[in-house]
């Protein structure tokens, strides 16, 4: 029974991982840019949720939408002001730019909130229920289901709508897309907005069942990397599958080895993946 609980908990968390990781993989596959600040975008989503509750007494729907909206605007702004120029330059500049952004965001929030942990005050999503003999926290359940739904939604958006096809077209063949009248610049900004929104929503969801700390972005971005590498770079379905698996592995490690080791195992797994199968489950290097 405990094992089943661990599995379910891991899968629910993994769904959230899948949500923000699919944003990272979209950008990477599309523009060969890795957003090192992606974890801090998730963190911002968490804090936006917190501020919305504390200042506006907002409910979950409102603060989630607020996080999505704010982060999507931030993503587009970052693209236009920074990424677009830096993409044309040397690799050092490309990698350092988002890394510097990560530091800036992370420690600006740290400046205001310092290292004290906060939690989302008394939300309507407290408590737990018993399903099939196992105990599941309601916020985790809702977050997991929503995250899964949104990730699937993102995949459908990309593959079944015109807009999505346009984004994918730029990702596959820029020149051909331009010949079709698609503006790569606009599509890339849109992709950044979408990816950042997915990070923001994931953050808002996490805030409902986990404590907030400004530096959480550092380990979240690493988890996103592992998920993206494992799932295959550029593949949203890959990120979905890999996210669930990583969530599972984390939950199992935390339970069977020790809570500290949930990150250690994931990072060690990362190095192993690099040695054995860098293209991941569903990708091509």
């Amino acid at each position: 029974m405990i094992a089943l609980q661990v599995v379910v908990g891991g899968l629910l968390l993994g769904a959230v991982y899948a949500l923000f990781s699919s944003g990272l993989t979209l950008i990477w596959g599309m523009m060969n840019v890795v957003n090192f600040a992606h974890g801090d975008f998730v963190m911002l989503g968490m804090y936006i949720a917190y501020l919305a509750v504390v200042a506006l007494h907002a409910g979950p729907l409102v603060f989630t939408l607020l996080a999505a909206l704010t982060l999507s605007i931030l993503g587009a702004v970052v693209y236009y002001l920074l990424i677009r120029q830096v993409m044309r330059g040397p690799m050092l500049a490309q990698i350092l730019s988002t890394f510097g952004l990560a530091l800036l965001i992370r420690y600006t929030v740290f400046w205001f909130f310092s290292a004290t942990f906060v939690t989302l005050p008394g939300s309507a999503l407290g408590g737990s229920i018993k399903l099939g003999g196992i105990l599941i926290g309601i916020p985790q359940l809702v977050a997991g289901i929503l995250a899964m739904g949104l990730t699937i939604g993102m995949h459908l958006l990309l593959t079944r709508t015109t807009l999505g096809s346009q984004i994918l077209a730029v990702s596959e063949d820029r020149q051909a897309a331009m010949l079709m009248g698609i503006r790569p610049d606009r599509m890339q900004a849109l992709a950044w907005g979408l990816a950042s929104a997915s990070a923001g929503v994931a953050g808002a969801l996490i805030a409902t069942f986990y404590y907030l700390t400004p530096t959480v972005g550092e380990s979240l971005v690493l988890i996103a990397f592992v998920v993206v590498c494992f799932g295959g770079f550029g593949s949203v379905p890959g990120a979905m599958l890999a996210g669930l698996i990583i969530g599972l592995i984390q939950a199992a490690s935390a339970y069977y080895i020790g809570p500290v080791y949930k990150d250690v195992v994931v990072f060690a797994l990362f190095v192993a993946i690099l040695w054995v199968r860098p293209q991941g489950l569903l990708g091509t290097v």
Binding site: T162, S165, A169, A176, A177, I182
Partner: protein
């Protein structure tokens, strides 16, 4: 083992996620030849080239160079065995000087800086770039960059040189100079395979021409024969250019104006 064949490609195919860029290409180059490869855009010439030089691993088939199987060998192994190449879009080391660019090539056979420098200077003289040795590569225009790429590849002491559209984008005068250089290189004993766009260049330089279309070799022969081959003329007049289309793009086509 037939050692009068320098380079042999046997049924080389290359597929990218379901799209067949090169389909079963066969090629044999003997030492001392100048062979031209022509074909319309998208015919698979560059992909085939990349399979020969080691930058791509063929999906099927094999590449034998100097009696050694290099099908899966890395580009650097190709270079060490004596195959050099240039790029369609020049990839010179922009912020390094022209001399330093060529020295990178020279270091392959000369481990010490002094010897590499000497060899590089010799190659710069040969290719007419010695006056600009200390300028940055980015100060050169396109023809200069193409020449630098050739010099750089020559410094590695190749037996076979693959030139990828080395003469495109040049003025008629520059083309004449480039042709003269290629002939000089050939005189030193280097075998050449030249991908070209410009028919006249190929007809002037090549002893033998291979024509690609839709990823396949549709004709080979002497330049005069090829120029009058109806299949070749038909290919260039464009009986359907193939381009890589994905599901995303095909669906968009239905929506575009």
């Amino acid at each position: 083992m037939n050692s009068t064949i320098l380079l042999k490609a046997h049924k080389v195919s290359k597929a990218f996620q379901g799209f067949l860029a090169v389909a079963g290409a066969d090629l044999e180059i003997s030492p001392g030849e100048i062979v031209g490869i022509i074909g319309p855009n998208g015919a698979g010439k560059s992909t085939f080239f990349n399979c020969l030089s080691g930058e791509l691993v063929p999906t099927r088939g094999s590449v034998i160079f100097q009696d050694m199987d290099v099908t899966r060998a890395t580009p650097e192994e190709h270079a060490r065995l004596g195959m050099g190449r240039t790029y369609q879009v020049p990839a010179t080391f922009e912020d390094m000087t022209i001399l330093d660019n060529v020295m990178v090539g020279a270091f392959l056979r000369h481990a010490h800086q002094a010897n590499a420098r000497e060899e590089a200077m010799r190659v710069l003289e040969f290719t007419g770039l010695v006056a600009q040795a200390d300028h940055r590569a980015k100060s050169l225009g396109t023809p200069g960059r193409k020449r630098l790429e050739i010099a750089r590849a020559l410094a590695t002491g190749p037996r076979l040189l693959l030139l990828d559209e080395a003469l495109s984008g040049l003025t008629p005068l520059e083309i004449q100079q480039a042709i003269a250089l290629v002939r000089e290189i050939h005189r030193t004993g280097v075998t050449l395979v030249i991908v070209e766009h410009i028919m006249e260049v190929v007809l002037t330089l090549a002893q033998r021409v291979i024509v690609f279309n839709h990823g396949e070799i549709i004709a080979t022969g002497r330049p005069e024969e090829i120029a009058n081959d109806p299949k070749v003329i038909g290919a260039y007049l464009g009986t359907g250019r193939r381009s890589r289309r994905s599901a995303a793009m095909s669906s968009l086509d239905g929506h575009s104006a």
